[in-house]
């Protein structure tokens, strides 16, 4: 008994000096330890594993803790003949252990048992969802994923996370993960570079970006499309239009071979709306989308395109008309909430655009220039004031002394930021760009290494681009209903 405990709590020695030799040694020890843990019948079925679990530290003895916990969960499942026995439900004994583990495990050790780790995350998530406490699953998943820190690798857990966030309508909790730049996708390569060990802390770790590492369940193209679409939906729920549009860009510019996914079409529709709401116009689509894919988008998203045309032209009558005509479409696409926000965005951009023609005008003049919106001078003044005060436009207001005097709106040119904050603003932007570039540069280095950027590969890439051009068929991607959010965001505003 105590022998077993001693063996279980023996932690392989973690090298202080990171050399290849030390890493190799550590790698071997961890592999041997996992092999030991995997022996059937390691823990006598008569004994109470709880005792061991109490004795082990989830952060120091992460591997042992994980295997024991799983053993106990399996026991409980056998005992109750249920996939999710009460003790794994939120609040239960096993739940508490699992959550404690997911918040404190040693990410390096766990790399040798990623399959088991992932199954535990999935179990916790589904226990939370079935007991209608998805937000608990979301937080546990997020903490676990942050702790594992898979440096830019997309995994099935990422998709799980955004689904949980939409499901529980707790969007901000998912941001620490969705804000990270993803660059890598696990491949089915067995062509592992031997200069890297799983335990190597040098990021990015090429040994991790494989199916074999177990870092992710088997992926299909739907998974990453859904991940970016759902991430975008999270951002849209928080009205972070720029980020939403960036995620949607990834979906609509996803590489294709002989097919266009329905998810991409969904994303294109939302891409139009997000850009209208965020920028008041539709930017050009990313250059790498092949023309036939664009044609598919254009033919399947026609109502959205004519809606966008009316919006961009500033034609309120036509826009309202398009919105009325398309009610059934918006509803079927679950975009009613976004579409209903267009009215306010329309008013906003009409007024913001005045700044290009006028440097000063009265509120009465504003009313005249925007006569399409049925507002009284008082309402329009309040609306303009709210735009100015929320920094949506750079302008200032000035009341005139006489009682019925008009209010003057003075519009500044250029950026929406206050001149006094400009330097700070620029600095922040530069820092963001720098961080992103660092990540991308790393990603490129790693991709270079693993791809062994050779002429052959470049030719292959060129070829794969050509395939997508010749493709035509549209294939349904199956349902993406699972994590749909209630997008009626304006409910409160009306």
């Amino acid at each position: 008994m105590s022998d077993l405990l001693a063996r279980l709590s023996a932690v392989p020695y973690r090298p202080h000096v990171v050399t290849d030799a030390a890493n190799e040694d550590y790698d071997r020890q961890l592999r041997e330890f996992v092999a030991y843990l995997k022996q059937p019948g390691l823990i006598p079925s008569t004994s109470d594993p709880n005792e061991y679990l109490q004795a082990l530290s989830p952060s120091k003895n992460s591997l042992s803790f994980l295997y024991l916990l799983r053993f106990q969960i399996q026991q409980a499942q056998k005992r109750t003949k249920r996939d999710l026995p009460d003790s794994i439900q939120p609040g239960g004994n096993l739940w508490n252990l699992a959550v404690r583990f997911l918040r404190s495990f040693d990410p390096i050790q766990i790399r040798y048992s990623l399959d088991e780790w992932r199954q535990l995350v999935d179990l916790v998530a589904s226990a939370a969802v079935t007991s209608s406490k998805a937000v608990l699953g979301l937080k546990a998943t997020r903490d676990a994923l942050e702790r594992l820190s898979p440096s830019g690798i997309f995994t099935s857990t990422h998709l799980l996370l955004v689904k949980l966030a939409l499901h529980s309508s707790a969007y901000t909790y998912a941001l620490p993960i969705t804000d990270q730049l993803l660059c890598h996708f696990p491949t089915d390569t067995e062509h592992v570079h031997h200069e890297y060990f799983l335990c190597s802390e040098q990021a990015p770790n090429t040994a991790l970006v494989t199916d074999a590492s177990g870092i992710s369940a088997k992926l299909s193209y739907r998974d990453h499309l859904q991940y970016f679409l759902y991430s975008a939906m999270i951002y849209m729920a928080l009205k972070k239009w720029t980020q939403a549009s960036r995620c949607l860009n990834v979906v609509i510019a996803s590489p294709t071979a002989n097919a266009v996914s329905k998810i991409m079409v969904e994303a294109y529709k939302k891409w139009i709306l997000a850009n209208l709401l965020g920028q008041g116009k539709i930017p050009s689509t990313p250059k790498m989308i092949s023309p036939h894919v664009i044609r598919v988008y254009q033919s399947l998203a026609r109502p959205y395109i004519s809606l966008a045309e009316a919006f961009e032209k500033g034609d309120l009558y036509k826009m309202s008309n398009e919105i009325d005509l398309g009610q059934a479409i918006w509803q079927a696409d679950k975009n009613t909430g976004l579409v209903s926000q267009l009215f306010e965005a329309f008013d906003k951009f009409v007024i913001v655009k005045l700044g290009r023609t006028f440097s000063a005008l009265t509120i009465a003049d504003v009313l005249q220039r925007t006569s399409s919106s049925p507002k009284c001078p008082r309402e329009i003044e309040e609306f303009v004031a709210s735009l100015v005060m929320s920094n949506s436009m750079r302008a200032s207001l000035s009341h005139s002394p006489d009682d019925n005097g008009t209010t003057m709106l003075r519009l500044s040119l250029g950026s929406q930021t206050h001149p006094f904050y400009r330097e700070e603003h620029i600095r922040a932007k530069l820092m963001r760009a720098k961080t992103a570039l660092d990540t991308i540069a790393q990603g490129v280095t790693q991709t270079d290494q693993t791809l062994e950027l050779s002429q052959e590969n470049l030719q292959f890439l060129a070829k794969s681009q050509k395939w997508s051009v010749s493709a035509e068929k549209v294939v349904s991607s199956g349902d993406i209903g699972g994590g749909d959010i209630d997008e009626d965001l304006m409910g409160d505003g009306q």
């Binding site: 993803l182 996708f185 193209y221 006028f358 991607s477």
Partner: protein
């Protein structure tokens, strides 16, 4: 030739080229019938023109005389009766029955009780017979020449027939007959005279493409300078300018008219007068050239000065523009608007040319200012009665609306300040603009780099969107293939089904 080529390269920079080309296209389309003026009046001009009809029309000979009279008669309410009566007299002296009938018809609409508003049946029937027999005779003669195979006779026969058709108003047949002369021309002067005839017919038909191509043929002929060349050259330039004007290529037209030698004199009166060259060339230049070019190529142009002396107000308008005196310049143009609207070739272009000159004036006017008061602008650009100018700087005034339009279409890089009633230049803080542009492009760069990296890795992981049945990864597993990633990538064949 060199000049022409440089004109061609100018063309793409011409912002309205396509727009006005469309108008030019419409010309040929609607006017391909027998006469340039077969369509109803284009505009109605109520203001009296400055010219004396008699002396104006005395500048012209040939068929253009009637065409011009008819246009004036149908467009000007002031001159209609006088012009149409002159047109009827002109038609009666010729052999074209249809234009006589049209003139009488038009007169009967404005002066139904006039004695001349009734068709002279007797004369008409007699003319019809004469024309018919003449046609038969000429065709018969031509057949005879053809049988005899005498080239010169065939050429002259076709020429006579073409002339006859032309005089009787059958422009299509005239064009064909003249074109048939080609094979029987033996000297360059024959060819030149044939081409001129074709050009004249084409101008009347409004077939500007044909005018241009035949002008090019003519110029190809003029290999060695001689008397005939110096006689033909101004006519060639003038015809080319006319074609370019009508196609809306105002800068090219200006260049052609500027190149027209003053020796033109009254040698091309069956098409246009030297006065017309001055007006057409001056207006096209004013609408399409900047102040430097206007000074250098128009005012300092010794040869063109001879034309401008005929129309001194055009010269004055151009010098006013060059000296930034925009109001007198625009006032002169406004004063002559009625005249130009009654010109057969300018009518359709007056509005475009005037708008362009006006827009250029406004642009020029604000160049030196950071801020310029709307009042001072209205003083210059709101023409007419100054009593109505009190509210010329309100949001609703036509002038402010015009400025808004110019700002919104990007012509003016300024903004309107309705508080101090000034126009403010937007060329404010270049530094901020540059910074923002740099930040934007940096962000775009980052986003695009990220997107490309993701795409490359998606392809590498075999996760491209593909038809459902064609999942590479599942397939490979079935086969249990044990290959390197690179091998796998290359084992794929498009369209391969499991």
């Amino acid at each position: 030739m060199d000049l022409l080529q440089s004109d061609m390269t100018d063309a793409p920079s011409f912002p309205y080229a396509t727009q006005t080309a469309a108008i030019g296209g419409m010309d040929t389309e609607t006017l391909n019938g027998n006469s340039t003026i077969s369509t109803g009046p284009f505009v109605r001009v109520d203001d009296p023109p400055k010219f004396e009809l008699d002396s104006y029309i005395a500048n012209y000979t040939g068929r253009t005389k009637f065409n011009r009279l008819y246009l004036i008669g149908t467009c000007s309410t002031y001159l209609s009766v006088e012009a149409l009566k002159a047109a009827i007299a002109e038609a009666k002296s010729g052999k074209d029955l249809s234009r006589y009938e049209r003139a009488v018809q038009a007169l009967s609409e404005v002066a139904p009780h006039d004695a001349e508003a009734v068709v002279d049946r007797e004369w008409a029937e007699r003319l019809q017979k004469v024309v018919k027999s003449e046609t038969d005779r000429l065709e018969h003669e031509l057949r005879g020449y053809k049988n005899n195979l005498i080239k010169e006779s065939i050429r002259m026969g076709n020429e006579d027939l073409g002339q006859h058709y032309h005089q009787t108003g059958d422009l299509g047949s005239a064009f064909k007959a003249y074109s048939r002369m080609r094979d029987f021309c033996t000297t360059t002067s024959h060819i030149a005279s044939m081409l001129f005839k074709i050009i004249t017919v084409s101008i009347e038909r409004g077939d500007w493409l044909s005018v241009q191509s035949n002008v090019h043929r003519l110029r190809g002929l003029q290999s060695k300078p001689d008397d005939e060349h110096s006689k033909n050259s101004p006519k060639i330039w003038a015809a080319l300018g006319l074609a370019q004007l009508n196609s809306g290529n105002y800068l090219e037209a200006a260049t052609s008219f500027l190149a027209t030698e003053p020796t033109l004199g009254d040698s091309y009166n069956e098409v246009l007068s030297s006065n017309d060259v001055a007006v057409y060339g001056g207006l096209c230049a004013l609408a399409s050239m900047d102040r430097n070019d206007l000074q250098r190529r128009v005012l300092d142009n010794n040869s063109f000065r001879n034309f401008l002396e005929l129309e001194p107000h055009i010269r004055r308008a151009i010098s006013f523009f060059c000296n930034s005196k925009f109001r007198p310049c625009l006032e002169i143009l406004e004063a002559y608007r009625a005249d130009y609207l009654l010109d057969i070739h300018l009518q359709r272009h007056v509005q475009t040319l005037y708008t362009r000159i006006r827009t250029k004036s406004i642009q020029q006017y604000i160049v030196p200012f950071n801020r310029v008061s709307l009042d001072s602008m209205a003083n210059i650009f709101v023409l007419g009665n100054s009593a109505t100018q009190s509210n010329q700087t309100d949001l609703n005034s036509t002038f402010v609306q015009e400025l808004i339009g110019l700002i919104q279409d990007g012509t003016l890089d300024s903004r309107i300040d309705l508080e101090s009633h000034v126009l403010v230049s937007s060329q404010g803080d270049k530094r901020i603009q540059v910074q923002e542009a740099a930040l934007d492009s940096l962000e775009n760069y980052v986003n695009e780099a990220h997107l490309r990296l993701i795409r490359a890795n998606i392809v590498r992981a075999g996760l491209e969107v593909r038809p459902l049945a064609d999942d590479r990864r599942a397939k490979l597993e079935e086969r249990g293939g044990k290959r390197s990633a690179i091998g796998n990538l290359f084992s794929r064949v498009p369209g391969m089904k499991p």
